[in-house]
Symmetry: D2
Subunit: 435 residues, 4 copies
């Protein structure tokens, strides 16, 4: 029941363990949350395979999306004390925050690598295409859905709004750092969000931060840095992702080879051959994946069956550090040895690389150039963060990369026939690591 | 890698958001966690449909089971300061704590009602039958698995151990109150577990609590009371459960009627006809359920399709309070009216009753008699809790029941043809509630 | 720097560990906080002698007063969504919340008992008399200070405002339960304040609570109940208070006897003879008390010296339970025995009684009648809390009293001359307790 | 009541808001806590004047000392799993942790600067001299007190023990970071102590950290860094310290000039003339300071009276940034101008400098050389932390200094006679800052 101004008769709240309460005052937001494409996010975990490392991290993109919305709501409440704008812009902001991840599929990270799909394109498709979400948005006016989509695509003309939802310090990141820290139980993701929001100041093309709040910004940057290496790039999580992507690869390969599946991958075929419709896509969720993987455990193809068993029962690959410069020397021999002992190297000997650039200042012309964070000095002028903060300066622009080599240590161990090859493999792996 | 005493070379830890860390020192525990039947608990939510009310409550029985184990580990550590026992008993205790929920299936509550299955029987079957869990347990000795099963079945001869895992204040309840409060974000489930553990004292047939810790026990009882009515019996959660059980009923009915399913319920057939094997059962998890429900959205049977859509998209039933004494008067007419407007009352007009007895003292001879909580007085004698605590005495033995009538308010509202019947229905529902 | 509307140019915040931030927008509040009578509250502990039991409880009335102000600020923000009033009323409300404890002296509880002073009278005196606080208030208009004083005295004509600051559920209690739980480290004082504030509704003569928030109210009542018996009435805290009041009594007695003090109690003389001025009173703080007690350790009067040493070094009295009905029988003999072994019973044998009425419904005509808590039912009618809540009903109107007998167990133990008397004393004390 | 092995009959616990519980099992520790010199720490705030900036920071050195003891107890419990040592060493360790701050006086920082006293010397004096603490320690054996004193003085031969209590990562720092963050309410001081303790490994001359725990160590270093600049060096806190030290200076000066005090500084005289006895020192606490300051408000000396009023009522000095290179140019003129308008520059124009070196690797031969933190690599070798951690490397060895100029802005503002001088002063101060 909404009033003519689009406000609900009575504010609704959701109990949230991270932000205590999520407040909904606008009928628009209430109806977007009820849309089936949004409800579907309950069946997609926020952190993919991370729950296999940090068992508490079972939270969905649904909870994260509500959280981003709530932070944006508070941001807007604060910023509106310092500026005025069209009330419509506020709703565009809130809707974009809520819907920014709507196009995510299950285990997106792996899916995107294997199928060259892009969740951002699906986000656009859901918002502007034939969907319940679009129907709700369109009630606000003809161009409303398009504006929301533009904000998420970063092409919206109000760059301030874009910066609130995707920049180096935005509502999305604030929620996921706090939320992922909460659910995993690690202490790294803590920072003083309330203070950050209070020192935010609207500028024409981005939100900046009062200089007096610099340490809160530093703390946020450091939290982010720690979360990447402690949680997001955890090697066990990556092991599960390696297996997941090999399963998808194997299924596609088998399909191309006209292998006769016990359980045909009907839900994926259109993905495999890039003819997936919006309707198909929206039906994809983690239960579909788990359903197939569980069925495929019983397939006759030993690789597919083994990989699916590993994923379902958490029998993951082990890993060693891996120095890419050594790779050319050792690699061909290792692959050869794996083949010899009956382990297909495309599936059982996999390098995974993770890299992160914790913060970057402005590098004009570079690919992936990023809008830096600016501080508002007491005299009103702006200064880029790393020029004021020693500690941010220290990590600024420094990309860190980590390579690991994954393989099924259990199968090597069980190996009895090829004792010599096994020994040589272990020596090579050790060499990799030791170097 | 374990040492001859069964201890791991190095203690393993899991980061847990509720207990900070879960410590594993015994190879036995490490291997039980790795067993596929235990890993499967990751795909079964601890609180069933509660995530549709409290969005944060997406945690699995896997995390809860680890938590119960950890509390038991700490309990045992404390109790061992006050008594000695066979080291084997300690392992029986820990294994029983870890495995006490191993037989749970997806949305057990609803499944058990519809299919007359019993997760406790499946727990026994997994522990003593042909399973990875049993294989691990059996390495400890021939009768070890049986002893663990007996503890869970409450038939074990060491009643102290039984009381630690199932009594009115046990490791299971302590974990779920703390954990469910944590994930839902409510403040009710808090109590001082550390103090409770410290004031526990082993007696022959149960653990008792030092009198000086009475207030911590009171706090636990009150937490439990609040959690039941604020979280576990939340009417929205029950609405989803009502729909879930109607789906299962409908599917069984259709199967009996030889309805031609687009997607045959192959995973359930053996459940429907009570021929389910352990192998079948272990494959059941929530992804299977969601898979079917999503497929059944497209069934031609309008009831099955509608109910499945409701469940997947969270279009739940509304409810009114329901006074059972009024039921006989109003019920036949209401059912008749529902039939008239085309809503099958077996599926669209459902009473759900919840009741709870927050604490009970000893009532010899009564069904469901419970072992009361005892305090150890300064002079060493024991007194039943409600004789010492005014506040526990006040709620002791008082069963509270709540009845609600669920129905699809949206379908009523959309109703245009039968305006008169609709009006009469609303009047009757209102009458129900008002009385 | 304030604007014409009395708002500060920029909102000020205080970091607070309980409420995260305390927000100050009004120049009036900012200046009241800066007033010397308010700053003085930093030198008076919120919980008197409790820090001798719970070492963390060292927080001052200053922090509590800020907290009450902040809760009131949030209450008012919520209520203003539901009603309109004169902007002045808001400031009266906030100022009264901030200043409600301004008249407290050091260890008020004990002081008031010994000297028949009343901190509420001093509160009135500071607000309406010659003080910095009064000067700040008077800038708001001639009658402003008087209105603030009336709110605190509960004589203000707007009863709604009175209820916000002193009723069975008010800003004062909410802050002290949360804050005292935080600093002592106990888990009992938790309740969902944010929810309580959201379900508050203004009625003519009090704030009521939406029925849907009943469980949050229950939780608050139970928290209060637990805090009283776990923290506020802790027997060790009462032991220190017993000693403190005996010191004050002894000093007064010695003064009356013209005992020659090493350190004359100049700061107290006017208190002893009831001629204390506001100026004198405002100078009293805990450092004055500690200064004297430390000096008096060196007095020649053995009782004063011993009691002060006990207080400074925390050599407290021990206690036994005490049944008042036994008192007449045992008491005369016990006193006689104490005298015999050289312990003056007025100082070394002390009964302390604590009693609490956790919640009460309306009892017209009774002394201390209290305004009960009301729930607003869905139909708008009001119902008294204990008629809806089983658990509140259970404790409603039930006064609980506890009597303890305090004495210096160490001196008894050290006793060598009067072995027989000592034995008899121990027997009598034991009898007391055992009965 | 203790058993022959020195263990208490029943473990005692203190409720602590930071560590939940503090566990005491040894009679020695129990009695040290009861000693009057230890109880005295309740009357000395852990963070001196910080409560005037962060109102929550009212906690005492007593609570901190218990916290350091508790962390040490847990450290020792962990380390004893990896090594064996004489049981006596354990008690030396625990006692040293508990007593490491026993020599602190009120506002030590300022006192030490003004009087060239040294709290570490007083610590030695209390432990080895005529005190209750020494009496308790001596019961453990003749050399026991000396050993405890040596650990604190860092001259003990077991360097591992010394490192646990004073190194770049020790029990003292761990407690104060966590505790000060807790009481101030800031989020910066958080790190995963439990993990740090678990990855500690004993080496001959220090405790090192397993490489897998590196990120927890990083987090600790960063927390420390943030706490120094956000809390410990907060400019408002320093303003209060500036005033405090000026008061002490003024009192000494007046004493030397034979000024006739209304309230003679009898408690300080021996400090002023460096003849203070242990007995005198132990009586010094914050209540003594506050007592004098409050009395001195009424002194005829305008400087002493004004400064004391400022301290008691929190009318602090304002500040500007201060560039030392500008100082020579501006300083003489500023001082001259202050003199002209009647503000004695020694008391009303004060530079305060704070500097911090967040972490340092080994710099042989340098003054204040510090033992660096070492990681234990998987192969057992040790590596200095900054060689493994980019982020620590970035801040390693970089001393940061901050200079501020403090002055009474209110007196300048009130200035009416010397309008020109006032203007010139403001210009110069602005210049200072702007440069």
């Amino acid at each position: 029941m909404a009033r003519p101004d689009g406000h609900l008769e009575e504010e609704k709240v959701f109990k949230d363990p991270v932000h205590r309460y999520i407040h909904v005052r606008d009928e628009l937001i209430w109806e977007l949350i009820a849309a089936r494409e949004f409800q579907r996010l309950r069946r997609i975990r926020q952190l993919g395979t991370t729950y296999l490392t940090f068992h508490g991290a079972e939270h969905s993109r649904f909870t994260h999306s509500l959280g981003v919305y709530e932070i944006m709501r508070r941001m807007v409440e604060n910023l509106e004390k310092k500026m005025t704008w069209d009330p419509d812009e506020r709703l565009v902001c809130l809707a974009a925050a809520l819907l920014h991840d709507i196009g995510h599929g299950p285990f997106s990270h792996s899916f995107e690598k294997v199928f060259q799909t892009d969740h951002e394109e699906w986000t656009q498709a859901i918002i502007t295409g034939d969907s319940e979400v679009n129907a709700v948005l369109s009630r606000m006016g003809e161009d409303f859905a398009g504006r929301v989509a533009d904000v998420i695509a970063k092409t919206y003309d109000n760059k301030l709004i874009v910066s609130l939802i995707s920049s180096q310090i935005d509502a999305d990141r604030m929620d996921y750092l706090l939320r992922d820290a909460f659910y995993t139980g690690v202490s790294y993701g803590q920072f003083d969000m309330e203070r950050l929001l209070r020192v935010m100041r609207p500028e024409e093309d981005q939100a900046v931060f009062k200089h007096s709040g610099m340490h809160a910004v530093e703390d946020y940057i450091l939290s982010r840095y720690q979360m990447y290496w402690q949680v997001y790039f955890h090697p066990v999580t990556r092991s599960a992702e390696v297996i997941l992507s090999r399963i998808l690869n194997r299924a596609r390969e088998l399909l191309e080879e006209n292998y006769e599946f016990r359980q045909q991958p009907v839900h994926f075929v259109s993905l495999f051959n890039a003819t997936m419709t919006l309707e198909d896509y929206v039906r994809l969720d983690e239960s579909i994946i788990f359903y197939y993987f569980q069925e495929w455990v019983k397939e006759t193809d030993p690789i597919l069956s083994d990989l699916c068993t590993r994923f379902m029962d958490r029998h993951l690959f082990k890993y060693v550090e891996c120095d890419p410069s050594q790779q050319m020397l050792i690699w061909p021999e290792l692959q050869e040895l794996f083949r010899k002992i009956g382990l297909h190297p495309s599936y059982y000997l996999v390098i995974d690389s993770s890299s992160d650039l914790p913060y970057d200042f402005y590098r004009p012309g570079e690919k992936d150039e990023r809008m830096p964070i600016h501080l508002q000095m007491p005299d009103g002028s702006l200064r880029e963060l790393s020029r004021e903060s020693d500690i941010v300066e220290a990590i600024s622009g420094k990309k860190r990369t980590d390579h690991k080599l994954y393989f099924p240590a259990d199968l090597l161990e069980d190996q009895t026939t090829f004792a010599e090859e096994k020994q040589r493999i272990l020596t090579l792996l050790h060499q990799q690591e030791g170097s």
